[in-house]
Symmetry: C2
Subunit: 191 residues, 2 copies
Amino acid sequence: MQSLIQFIQNTVPIPLDKAKEIAAYFEERKIEKGNYFLQEGHKSNEYMFLLDGFMRAYATDTEGNDITTAFYTTNNVVFEVSSFFNRTPSKENIQALTPCAGLVISYDTLNNLFHGLPEFREFGRAVLVRGFSALKARMLGTITETAEQRYLTLLHTNPDIFQQAPLKMIASYLGITDTSLSRIRKEVSKK
Amino acid sequence: MQSLIQFIQNTVPIPLDKAKEIAAYFEERKIEKGNYFLQEGHKSNEYMFLLDGFMRAYATDTEGNDITTAFYTTNNVVFEVSSFFNRTPSKENIQALTPCAGLVISYDTLNNLFHGLPEFREFGRAVLVRGFSALKARMLGTITETAEQRYLTLLHTNPDIFQQAPLKMIASYLGITDTSLSRIRKEVSKK
DNA sequence: CTTTACTCTTGCCAAATGACAAGAAATAGG
DNA sequence: CCTATTTCTTGTCATTTGGCAAGAGTAAAG
């Protein structure tokens, strides 16, 4: 709970008591390793703050391969933007890669709070804007950089991911095969 | 003005008079061909609805090449999410590729309206969510599909772009060189 | 403890894409 | 109308990445 309050305050300027008031609407949730926070075809009804553990999102491409689209580390929010906000079936899965604990809030509660609490609204928007901007940066990197550069960037900015996710997932996240990633790592280690 | 009202109503369920009320806060803006709606290093203060014309956004990569990150067609909104909502200098440029006419609203006005008009808030969120979701889909396509598939998808979903933008811009948008795009077009035309 | 499944690496070769340069075609400006 | 610039294509060759298969190492399950 404390970490959520801090996360809110780090995201938007807001008095402590308001942050506490908001955080109080969240409920505890545990997810076992391998289990899902959201599954393809299901409608997402929850917005989560990850207190502990490690998760990933993945989509299934036309050939039936899993493509990891995101990793979620402790003290970040977890939600699928389209399914949650548009109230539509999800095209992706969000899965716990370790035992996870989080704080969740339902769509209805969140939406009511958005209308009643301007500070929470700002928070919600800031989270959306941050995610959108991060994805734009990732998109630009994917288009302009080599696989090796993208690997090195991820390694330096999110080293924890390499401790927790198998290389196959990291490879698909980077847009390459696990074979290529293995070779890139070999090349990089030579230098 | 009429087209903005329709755009609002197509985006969120909202009574006509509310849509008209919102639209009334926008002001006319003309941009000459080649001129900028937003330039790198400047803070974006405006959110625009494009009434007529064709625009693109582009970033400059580390080697100094222009990378087109988005195309904007008539009857769509135009803004740079990070600079506009975070009040920070933009990393990209938004440029008119033809003479353009739009309706703009300032950050301050928009923000005040967000707090005063729940319907406009919903609209703003829906636009953000739509853009975010579209980018996620594009990201997945970039990672999973070949350049030829991405080209064909763009050609079928946005044929107008090919009438208005030079292939070099389309190539950088697709994440390939203009040389490769030229070859892909040759291959495709054979079939 | 042992067997099974997954993870990661490596070799070989093919396919996709890029870099560079030249030339043709189209467009814009004077 | 003519010139200069941009756009598009094409050739050659190098580099990156993928596909497939085998094998070693590691973790999971009974």
